[in-house]
């Protein structure tokens, strides 16, 4: 237990940072309605992953993977290269997300997700009303049929057009 507290826990401090950042980012994405904050959360979340990669390639006392004289210990270059790519992806995502937010703001006048959804819901209700009217009509026809074996003649129109 003591060893866990004194060695293991601080020895893995990089992972604790990663996990902490990850949770902060993820929580922000989940809990905030503001789209910009969501995006910020997403970026934090991604950054945590970048750090995870970088720190796993790091070796104690190593140098950056640049060819120099002597025989130093290099950090593993591959994760860094990978993360460079991942950063590019992340930046693209952020840029695209921000562009979308700008346009959402222009279209809806709000960047709160629930407001935007509510606005959408309001527009869709008009569409739904028409459909509902039709299905009610249909239910009425059904109800009529169920009340007696001798239902209305209107259902028997035939249309040899």
């Amino acid at each position: 237990m003591n060893q866990f507290l004194t060695e293991t826990l601080p020895g893995l401090f990089n992972y604790w940072i990663v996990i902490g950042l990850m949770m902060i980012g993820f929580y922000t994405v989940i809990a905030h309605d503001n789209l910009v904050k969501k995006l910020i959360g997403l970026t934090v979340f991604q950054s945590a992953v970048f750090i995870l990669y970088i720190s796993m390639g790091f070796i104690h006392g190593s140098t950056a993977p640049i060819i120099i004289d002597g025989d130093p210990v290099y950090a593993h270059p591959l994760p860094q290269v990978l993360i460079l790519t991942a950063i590019v992806v992340g930046v693209s995502t952020t840029a695209l997300g921000l562009a979308l937010i700008v346009r959402i703001n222009e279209a809806y006048g709000s960047i709160e997700e629930d407001d935007v959804l509510a606005a959408d819901m309001a527009t869709s209700e008009g569409e739904e009303a028409r459909e509902e009217a039709r299905s009610e009509q249909a239910e009425a026809a059904e109800g009529h049929a169920a009340t007696g074996a001798d239902d209305g003649a209107e259902a028997h129109e035939s249309r040899p057009a």
Binding site: F26, L42, V89, S92, L100, I104, L117, T123, E131
Partner: protein, 498 residues
């Protein structure tokens, strides 16, 4: 020169669309961009077909990018599994070309059209990249390329709701991608390699570690998100509904399918079927989720008032079918899942195209707006009917083949409950397809018939839709090649005689 071309095909199939995209941007004209798209996608399709044949003969085609031998360099690997999905992706892309010209023109301002084609090419390049790559990290990058371009494509939809749909997709997709990244990082940490074949060799030594277990969990969840498997599916209906019609058709037929491909590439090839399905209870979880997807997706579909949304929800249900097949992890099950993956891509592509043609005509996509179009647009409506029948799984269509294969596989695996649910889901599919067909054929045209004067959709849209329909029927009546290829792929994934 010719042999050189053949040797380079694995990379060219990615590079051609990838380089065609900036050419589109340079061209800056809608028509020129469209032409570039068509040429690139057709070329890609031709190469995909040749690769399929090559993979069939050789079993596996490998290519070292930059001549760095794997596992150090990036390796492209094409086996039958990837070749089949590659064929679907490039095929749908090739068909979307003729379709997109008029459809895009009607929904997107002319000065932005070239961008649509550039983005579609990027998306295509990403999707192709996912299927051909043999490198785990490379797969992530291609996945993000395709995802990013599809976010942008969806955001170009004509309604403002496209914006939020795209944003939600962006958030969910990025989280999924990041999960995948975490998962890849974790297994990289344990093995020090990113090459899939190499990973498969080295992972067994560290199977027992938590890191690898967590890695599998992250990868599965991340790719489930991209594949819109329940309960991570809610981004899908909106994204497909509000995207421009041509984009809906293209993405619906390919994007989630490729994500499923990637999911099971990881599960079967990298982790190994024994580990994922034996040691860890992945199979039963996926099967349960698939079963819920089938029923809930179909039920939601029944209630939709918008045809595109209806189809999108049915995609959620159909993803359930596909995953149910794969999750059996038997040769028959995987082959059935793969067959349905391909067939459903063709079916949904055709259906979205047919609906897109109707949207092109009436500028709306609710069921009520399509009333009476059976008379005004007989060919398009007929295409929708055939596609719908295929979706239901009526004999002599592709849908039947996969339904039959799935039922047989489920029966063999003695999952009678799932079998029954699949039956229920296909009954529900009759209802939602029936609703649309009834509206098309048996309701009068609305009074303001001005838009019906012009009749059918443009030739390009017709040709594209009917091409997919024709493939559906051909597969329906002559499925042996597809079934054989799928059996080969399944055998290479989970063992067993092809």
């Amino acid at each position: 020169m010719i042999t050189a071309f053949f040797n380079q095909m694995p990379v060219l199939v990615v590079v051609v669309p990838l380089l065609a995209a900036p050419l589109c941007v340079l061209a800056h004209r809608a028509f020129a961009a469209w032409l570039i798209y068509c040429l690139a996608s057709w070329l890609a399709f031709a190469m995909a077909f040749l690769l399929f044949v090559e993979a069939k003969i050789a079993g596996e085609v490998s290519y070292a990018v930059g001549n760095w031998a794997p596992p150090f360099g990036i390796e492209l690997v094409i086996d039958t599994y990837s070749a089949l999905v590659l064929l679907l992706v490039t095929g749908v892309a090739a068909v979307t070309g003729p379709y997109a010209r008029k459809s895009i023109a009607s929904e997107i301002a002319i000065e932005r059209e070239y961008l649509v084609f550039a983005l579609m090419l990027l998306c295509l390049a990403g999707l192709i990249g996912i299927t051909v790559t043999g490198d785990a990290f490379n797969l992530f990058v291609f996945l993000e390329i395709s995802s990013l371009s599809s976010y942008a494509l969806i955001a170009m939809g004509p309604k403002r709701r496209a914006l939020l749909s795209s944003f939600q997709y962006l958030i969910m997709g990025t989280v999924g991608g990041t999960f995948l990244l975490i998962g890849i990082g974790l297994i990289f940490m344990m093995t020090g390699t990113l090459n899939m074949a190499d990973l498969a060799d080295r992972l067994p030594e560290v199977y027992a570690t938590r890191t690898v277990q967590a890695g599998l969990a992250f990868i599965v969840v991340g790719l489930s998100l991209k594949a819109a498997l329940m309960p991570a599916h809610i981004w899908l209906p909106n994204a497909y509904t509000y995207a421009p019609s041509a984009i809906s058709a293209f993405i619906a037929a390919t994007a989630t399918k490729v994500a499923v491909y990637a999911l099971f590439r990881f599960v079967f090839t990298v982790f190994g079927v024994g580990y994922a399905f034996g040691t860890l209870p992945l199979g039963i979880v996926l099967l349960a989720l698939a079963a819920v997807s089938m029923i809930a997706g179909s039920l939601a579909s029944i209630f939709q008032t918008d045809v595109k949304r209806l189809l999108a929800w049915s995609s959620v249900a159909q993803m359930g079918y596909i995953v149910a097949g794969f999750a059996l992890a038997t040769p028959a099950g995987v082959s059935a899942g793969l067959v349905h993956l391909l067939n459903h891509g063709l079916i949904k592509g055709a259906l979205f195209m047919a609906v897109g043609a109707m949207v092109w005509r009436v500028r709306a996509s609710s069921i009520n707006d399509l009333a009476g179009l059976g008379r005004a647009m007989p060919l398009t409506s007929a295409a929708f009917v055939i596609g719908g029948l295929s979706l239901i799984g009526v004999p002599a269509t592709a849908g039947f083949i996969s339904k039959w294969a799935l039922m047989s596989a489920l029966f063999d695996a003695q999952h009678y409950g799932v079998m029954a649910l699949l039956l229920v889901a296909s009954l529900l599919s009759i209802i939602y397809v029936g609703r649309v067909i009834e509206a098309l054929y048996f309701r009068p045209l609305p009074d303001d018939v001005s838009h019906h004067k012009h009749g059918e959709a443009p030739l390009g849209m017709q040709v594209a839709t009917w091409t997919l329909i024709a493939v559906n029927i051909v597969i329906g009546v002559h499925a042996t090649p597809e079934l054989e290829a799928a059996a080969r792929a399944a055998a290479s994934l989970v063992g067993g005689a092809p």
